[in-house]
Amino acid sequence: MIKYTEEHEWLKKDGAEVIVGITDYAQAQLGDLVFVELPSEGITVAKGDEVVTIESVKAASDIIAPLDGEITEVNPKIVDEPSLVNEDPLEDGWFFKMRLANPSDFDGLMDEDEYKKLTD
């Protein structure tokens, strides 16, 4: 099951954790990514915290924590190769995994149909 935020992030359940990335719409709006700075694994974050810095050819942007929780793993491949986020935003271009403080928060996010309405 995949859920979406208004900040154009996707969240996918992966056992007790969720995987977080940005949507295809977001990568297209940002343009070619050239730099990604990921958070340290193990840090506790609150919804809205700026956890990732990305730079496209155009500008710098922040990716925020979609929900409260702990960052358990980050994807080092996108640091070495930021273009992975543009090429495969939903699979290889994921950003980080987190363990949610309140797993039920996940259910309150947008589903695919709701997200599609947002970007149409």
Partner: protein, 373 residues
């Protein structure tokens, strides 16, 4: 974008995937579908086509019909050797102000008894007023024409076999015909690559563009890649790297001021700010524009402050333009530092998101230019 002007190619850009943005009062394509990175790399590997029709094109002739009269009048406004310019040759120039600062940069060429100028879109009204006010014995005619730049190592191969543009040298200008359109062409550009800048009547601009674009080696290039290409080539962007408080010597544009206009030259001085500029040519300036290579992977953009060490304190200078250099596969930048810190390989620091990150002074250009000298 109703208040914005459009070039003759605006509809073509919109019909062909151009992402339109406001730029210098014009609606211009920042990129097409392939995006900035691919457009940039394509231009360096093959050929790119740029709509630069927003720039100001000006033709100046003296009332007495003589080039010498027009050249002397322009020499009162810019510190360049205009009089000594050969017929069919072009030079880079700078409009200066009374304190030696730069009001705009421009290209100027001699075509017979006429001077042909290209000035920046954002400055063109001020430049035209400056020319009309300062060149009283001359007719200053603003040309409503299209301007297309064809740039890249294969630019020359795109042209029909035996075409006279193939025989031009860097900074030559000729009048000729290209794919049925009468054009005025210079072998120059803003990418660091070989190429041409082609002035064409408005009614022919879409036709010429379409014919050039029909060649599969040619890709249309937006303003995004135009900026990263010129940055890697070490070329200044007026308004970012040059402004009314920056002198030609601070900007390391000494090469653009020929000896004849410097102290001891036959036509030394006689342009706005000559006292300041000539003294700096003789004795140097306190700060200089330099190339900067951030040591990490993070792009550093215009406005980033520069420091002596990683503890911060008072900034010693500032990045004026910077970003990711696709051909360098690394961030590149340029900016101003005190002359004492301006030697290549000097390490300084830039503040990025609260951290002081190492940056090295580097020679420019960051790529090997392909100019056909």
């Amino acid at each position: 974008m109703t208040d914005l002007q459009q070039t003759g190619l605006a509809e073509w850009h919109r019909d062909n995937g151009g992402k339109m943005v406001p730029f210098a009062g014009y609606e211009m394509p920042v990129q097409y579908a392939p995006g900035v990175l691919k457009e940039h790399l394509h231009c360096r590997a093959s050929a790119g086509l740029f709509d630069v029709g927003h720039m100001g094109q000006v033709r100046i002739t003296a009332a007495d019909g003589n080039y010498e009269t027009a050249a002397r009048a322009l020499e009162a406004l810019i510190p360049m050797d205009v009089l000594g310019l050969g017929d069919g040759r072009q030079r880079y120039g700078l409009f200066t102000n009374d304190v030696g600062g730069i009001e705009d940069d421009l290209m100027f060429a001699r075509m017979g008894e006429a001077l042909m100028l290209v000035v920046n879109a954002a400055c063109k009204e001020a430049d035209i007023a400056r020319l009309q006010g300062g060149m009283t014995d001359c007719e200053v005619e603003v040309l409503d024409r299209g301007l297309i730049a064809l740039q890249g190592p294969l630019a020359h191969d795109i042209l029909p076999g035996g075409h006279p543009m193939r025989d031009m040298r860097f900074m030559d200008m000729i009048e000729t015909e290209l794919f049925g359109a009468a054009v005025t062409v210079s072998r120059s550009g803003y990418t660091g690559e070989d190429g041409y800048e082609i002035s064409v009547a408005q009614e022919d601009v879409v036709g010429l563009w379409s014919k050039l674009c029909a060649d599969e080696r040619v890709m249309p290039i937006g303003l995004g890649a135009r900026d990263s290409l010129r940055l890697e080539a070490g070329l200044c962007l007026y308004g970012s790297d040059l402004d009314p408080t920056t002198t030609p010597v601070e900007a390391t544009l000494n090469w653009a001021i020929q000896k004849i206009r410097r102290s001891g030259g036959a036509r030394a001085g006689g342009f706005p700010g000559a006292e300041v500029i000539l003294a700096q040519l003789d004795h140097g300036a306190d700060r200089r524009r330099v190339g900067l290579l951030p040591e990490g992977r993070a792009p550093m953009r215009g406005g980033t402050a520069l420091y002596m060490d990683d503890t911060g304190g008072t900034p010693i200078g500032q990045i004026t333009s910077g970003g990711f250099g696709p051909s360098c596969a690394a961030p590149v930048a340029m900016g101003y530092v005190p002359t004492a810190q301006a030697s290549p390989d000097t390490q300084i620091f830039a503040e990025l998101r609260g951290k002081y990150l190492p940056v090295k002074i580097a020679a420019m250009p960051f790529i090997t230019p392909g100019y056909k000298r």
